[in-house]
Symmetry: D2
Subunit: 486 residues, 4 copies
Amino acid sequence: MAIPTLKNLIGGQWLESQASEFLEVKNPAFDETIALVPQSTPEEVNQVVAAAKAGFEKWRHTPAPVRAKAMFRFWEKLDKVQDEIVEIMVREHGKTRSDAKGEMTRAFEYVEYTCGIPELMKGTYSEDVGRRVESFTVREPLGPFVIIPPFNFPAMIALYFCWPLACGNPVIVKPSELCPQTMTRMAEIAQECPFPPGALNIIQGGPEVGHQLITHPDVVGVTFVGSSKVAEIVYQTATGRNKRAQCQGGAKNHLVINADSLLEKNMDNVVNSCYGNASQRCFAGSNLLVHEKVFDRFLSGFLEKALQFRLGYGLDPEATLGPVVSRKSLENLLGFIDRAEKAGARILLDGRHPSVPKYPQGYFLAPTLIEAEPDLEIFREEVFGPVRCIKKIRDLAEAVEIVNRSPFGHTAVIYTENGGQARDFVRYCNTGQIGINVGTPAPIAYYPVGGRKISFFGDLRGRANDAVDFHTDKKVVVCRWMTPFA
Amino acid sequence: MAIPTLKNLIGGQWLESQASEFLEVKNPAFDETIALVPQSTPEEVNQVVAAAKAGFEKWRHTPAPVRAKAMFRFWEKLDKVQDEIVEIMVREHGKTRSDAKGEMTRAFEYVEYTCGIPELMKGTYSEDVGRRVESFTVREPLGPFVIIPPFNFPAMIALYFCWPLACGNPVIVKPSELCPQTMTRMAEIAQECPFPPGALNIIQGGPEVGHQLITHPDVVGVTFVGSSKVAEIVYQTATGRNKRAQCQGGAKNHLVINADSLLEKNMDNVVNSCYGNASQRCFAGSNLLVHEKVFDRFLSGFLEKALQFRLGYGLDPEATLGPVVSRKSLENLLGFIDRAEKAGARILLDGRHPSVPKYPQGYFLAPTLIEAEPDLEIFREEVFGPVRCIKKIRDLAEAVEIVNRSPFGHTAVIYTENGGQARDFVRYCNTGQIGINVGTPAPIAYYPVGGRKISFFGDLRGRANDAVDFHTDKKVVVCRWMTPFA
Amino acid sequence: MAIPTLKNLIGGQWLESQASEFLEVKNPAFDETIALVPQSTPEEVNQVVAAAKAGFEKWRHTPAPVRAKAMFRFWEKLDKVQDEIVEIMVREHGKTRSDAKGEMTRAFEYVEYTCGIPELMKGTYSEDVGRRVESFTVREPLGPFVIIPPFNFPAMIALYFCWPLACGNPVIVKPSELCPQTMTRMAEIAQECPFPPGALNIIQGGPEVGHQLITHPDVVGVTFVGSSKVAEIVYQTATGRNKRAQCQGGAKNHLVINADSLLEKNMDNVVNSCYGNASQRCFAGSNLLVHEKVFDRFLSGFLEKALQFRLGYGLDPEATLGPVVSRKSLENLLGFIDRAEKAGARILLDGRHPSVPKYPQGYFLAPTLIEAEPDLEIFREEVFGPVRCIKKIRDLAEAVEIVNRSPFGHTAVIYTENGGQARDFVRYCNTGQIGINVGTPAPIAYYPVGGRKISFFGDLRGRANDAVDFHTDKKVVVCRWMTPFA
Amino acid sequence: MAIPTLKNLIGGQWLESQASEFLEVKNPAFDETIALVPQSTPEEVNQVVAAAKAGFEKWRHTPAPVRAKAMFRFWEKLDKVQDEIVEIMVREHGKTRSDAKGEMTRAFEYVEYTCGIPELMKGTYSEDVGRRVESFTVREPLGPFVIIPPFNFPAMIALYFCWPLACGNPVIVKPSELCPQTMTRMAEIAQECPFPPGALNIIQGGPEVGHQLITHPDVVGVTFVGSSKVAEIVYQTATGRNKRAQCQGGAKNHLVINADSLLEKNMDNVVNSCYGNASQRCFAGSNLLVHEKVFDRFLSGFLEKALQFRLGYGLDPEATLGPVVSRKSLENLLGFIDRAEKAGARILLDGRHPSVPKYPQGYFLAPTLIEAEPDLEIFREEVFGPVRCIKKIRDLAEAVEIVNRSPFGHTAVIYTENGGQARDFVRYCNTGQIGINVGTPAPIAYYPVGGRKISFFGDLRGRANDAVDFHTDKKVVVCRWMTPFA
């Protein structure tokens, strides 16, 4: 079968790129090229922005209940192709079918949330703010918004586009060049709903395309999700052009195992948080902070579970853990482990170079656990793959101190049954999300998501009502009619 | 074809009633019996309440996002049978296909609104209402609610059940005995979504069944829509048993034609408000209050349009106006006209005993217009059929005075281009809804609906967020954990 | 000093009543008459309603920010006379100065909340609910509302009047005939703010006056707080006249002492919940449900604390527990104890006929504790004074079962440090409020208050945003202007 | 009298600056120096940030209702010194006493709005987002925020500090160096409330101090109000350090006089919008776009009113128009007029070098009106003083086109009685605020304020609920307790 080249969706048309450079999309379980992504040309980027700008006129004057109906139709059509999307995702990302299905479940809630757009777009109305003077707000869409999702949730985070779109803005998605097919297929589905030409656009390419988008004068704002380093650049670049920006960066999430926690009941949750989706998620548990009273018992339980993962191709029903997304990523991870080892950290579980006979070319790394201190690189830096740290702690105060010393501020988790300690953990951890006995406390679509410190740049968070605020402006009208009643 | 007898939906089962009495559902265009409605027995009413109560347990503990998914599924399945529902409705109600389709469009928005239930059920959370004391509200469903819809919108108003259901309550619908098949068919669709047994229930019958429901000790509350007389009885009966009640009554809506209004541009809207759906809707314009400066011009334009209606069977593509719902209603309407005539009112357009050759048995009344003064019965009382009044007015003050003298307080409409006069009309009319150049200002599902004076009994309005409040309680938790952080 | 006779505040004037009957206000620590309350005549009731109705016109058209300024002024002026109000309250009610001060602190939050009325009265606005059709809601006040507060919080609950008033309604307060001076004095303060004549009115009297108010055709709605028996009558009487009603009834609150609870840290809180304000509050703990594992330890700690109360006159700095409000109440309480004793309940602490040498005429009852089973009258019925029950329980399931078997549904409290058990207690107790380690979980003014079952009749709760909804209607405007832009 | 030198408020202490450079505060009616502003040293800026950071700990853990009480106290105390503040303002800014009083009225609403902080800080709570999983948001303050207000409303805009402060953040205000005494005096008042040390801080100085503040690593965010040029720099500088920023820039507001508008009734409003506060406000009307049908009549009425202004010192009861704020500003304005004249614009009213005998040294410029085309500098650029343009238009479409061609997007105003044209004006003008027969449509404090294009940089607007969002983060908690009920 010929390797397909992905197209751009510009103004309602699927157009072949005139690119001269192409990036390879690989199936990470086989190291096989399965698609080519054009590095779209500057002209094409201009074209897609122009198409979005042109599409604004019609879409912006489409009543919110009619926009909602298009979202409902998208929900219905996407539902019918769920299995197909899941398989596309597994092929280009490597995650297991079960992880991909779980992603789709959450992803649907994004569509579902934005189906409620007529309610969410309501402004407020006050009679008589002064005598015979009324005031009200009209929530208005603003123009072309850009979404730059990461590779790790090719369906879910790409669906962030539902927010600007439902709000009445045209939107341009630049899919991750590592896993672009999932979004591309979803855009085909969306075209059938239909959304008017120019409302939803896709432009393929790598960072250069992203940069051109966020510096383009006709782009109003950008939502980025990715590493802290790039998030910061995107935030500064976009706001440096006076645009709106909300940029989700990386994470280093601490899971605190309190002395009173129900170890056995929670162990699956802990292990899944650490290694699920091959640890490629910003809500993954990274550093385990375990109370000294239960450290040994916890560790033996954890290792037992961690050893049960079966590596393999995500569509293989036997596989419970897939490869990481790319060879580069695998090498990066091995480098982290090697440096930790050299720095004196104790490798409690070594997942390097696992034997995966059925998929010998795959980018596999088995679960790895390292006992490390907070000053080590492996403990401080984001490690996007199944390499986790563990550290013994004396009490909750020490745990919170470690959480707050991290440059990241995404998420912290406590395992405890004690209401008071959980309460104070919520209060004193300077992170954007907190889990209580929930290892990956990703808010549902109805709650906004965002970190602190280098995990998030911006003020309005992603998703939920914050994303409605981000993608609209509240025009204020002050009105006094002069002709009285009689 | 045998005449079908409608069944009850009790605890997830469609059960034949043991009734000894049956009511006839007629096709009003043919005076033909098309279905039989059992007057369900007291035992069956007890049974349906018991089933609802039993169903509460499971449904109440179903997470809101999961309940939302069932609502989405209902949306999808109902969408597929729209045409079928439309035809059922036309057959039992008599409205034209076009009116029925219009009703379905609005009806869908009810389902769409309640698909947003996870957002709508959010309570609030405050840390530190006092030092180390948190407070929050949990919105909880309450138990079996009853919906008693009227005949005139057999799909739309029956779908009020979406609110209690989406909120997590079991719901019992007693369809109108005149037009019960529409709701009954929609309940079949709902069963496939599926909702758990006992979540949605149907009990067939007339007022006796309604009375037993609203006096049953296990019923929490009732939403009624119908005449003011019955609405008042239902309100007093239900609240007399300490239940929640919101009861929508009748209407007598005034359309005010201001001297500056754009007569030609608005005439279709006015005429449709007066006679659309054979005037059987609570938002229909009833009394035309026309400024003396434009009275003659308005009247001739109105009569011209009103004469263009073609009476007939709603599924007949030529028909633009159907029969009224029942022979009894027709006779009632003729009585109104006769009494007005005797009282000296001037009949400007006489629709009595029209010739409708293809449907000689139908309950037809052609558009009728009567010039009448505010003290006449025909001007004061609700007339549920195509008999409308007109009156010349001197100015807006007189119009508002007439609006506010009515015992009803449902809706008032002004036709004008003048912002100030419209503003004051909004301010000074004591009605629950106001239209500005909109003859039937029925709020969309995202806005709450309710009248004043004898048009509404209760505090929380129907639909939108008010209906969420009506069908839930805001449990308040005050929480102080004693174990500190460290 | 002559005993003063209280006046009515009608349309901005303090008027002497023409009553022929007068009720005595007693200082319960001395059994002395300190004021006379006229049983206002039917003519005076008509007069006050007429004054309120007349006052509506001006107040309703006062912009919300201007109404807010009057509320701010009231805050300022009330603040200056806090000590005076506290002393009035102690004299007529009997509570200690410390309890009265605590009440004032909470009471101020009612005024503070309603100072935010411009924000709270906002309606919503949507452009393009259909093409070129806008929709918005205008929150409108409705007319005269009645407040009938109980005796037990003469300042705080009387200040419920802030809600209808701030919303733009005229309000009529009928103070408790047992403790009317507090509200009367506060109304004097309010007059200075000033509120326009007829905005705030006071009519003195007993139940007959209340009955006439809630049946008067010009009264729109009523907020009542008192016993379940009267609350039910008021609810049925008012709604039987098609009015709005929210009626807070009595309570029988269970405090559950879980096996893991921090007994010592919580004991003050438990004992204060049981006996503070001489147990005359609807949030008071009534029945102690104590886990068998800690029963003995809890009981001895509880008795030790309970014995430390020093009975006396509330303004006497030595007193930590005042008398009950009236001789009738005292006799009623003694009857409860006697019947419990006869029914075989074990009196663990007997507070009957305590020696209070300095105040021999006072209506004193010392803290009383009775071990009783759920079927006993003393365990089931509301007992409004310092007589509490205790019962040993096996587990939380038994406790919740007891809570839910009660005909009351006001409040349930759990003492525990366990997050999961607290969560399920919140979920499974069918009460309107829940405390976690908070014995009297009265929501602050920013949270709505209301019980279930016979503890509350209505749908919208008291205070907070619910009370704004209760005292306003959301008029919906649907607007389509016909003249386009150009 | 010695000229006072302003102090800094750092950590609760009023400290004399160690500055070596001082800026002069002038009374613009007399060209007299009335105070000296230290250009605070870099050490002092570090010190104030450190004090704010230190103050965060205590203030952040102060319950919101307690913070609200401090705001109420501030309201009360500020109310008592209103007249004093007004006079300080007139002396340093030049506006008339009447303008200053008007400013105070609006300014109080800022304090009033933020008194409602316990309501505004509420997060949301959802039970069962999944089975047995709860989710809620905690709104948290974030740390030191900076407010940099402009000179033109020395009280009102400085009071933006109420938002971060009420939210629980420490705040640092750098008053305008032209009019710093107003804010400085208000801070003295605030100290008495009291706010804890470090909660509210003042640092005096010019742009250098501002720059150091917004680049300081411990500052979380900045609210700036001033010219577009500086607003853009502040936005890019702050976001370039990953901070939050909302920066209000300049304006060039168009007032459109529609052919149907009630000229006489509106003329005072138009003229006041143009010249009130000596045109030094971002909501001032700048360019008059007058329909050709009414141009001549409008112009003669306008000129008649404009000539009635009496220039003078703001505390002089005869004065109705004060000087501009500085000599530099006056020269700048004269330059604008001269260049316009040279470019061929027609000066219809020439206010240059007016005779103001009592105040010969004042920076006076009388109302000036210039007929100009959109491409002229005087028509395009912000002119912060009483120099306005007028232009004849053919229709509303032309007016809207001119509005939208401007680089500014702050406000547009239409004078009309036509509901439809007003509606479309609202819809099609790309500005942040719209007035309908309101020349200076400044939203009240309860509505958010913000422009578009170069008039605003950021996403969340100033004031109202947007400012609460800006000054807080919505921490999301996902919670699953493991211990069940029984």
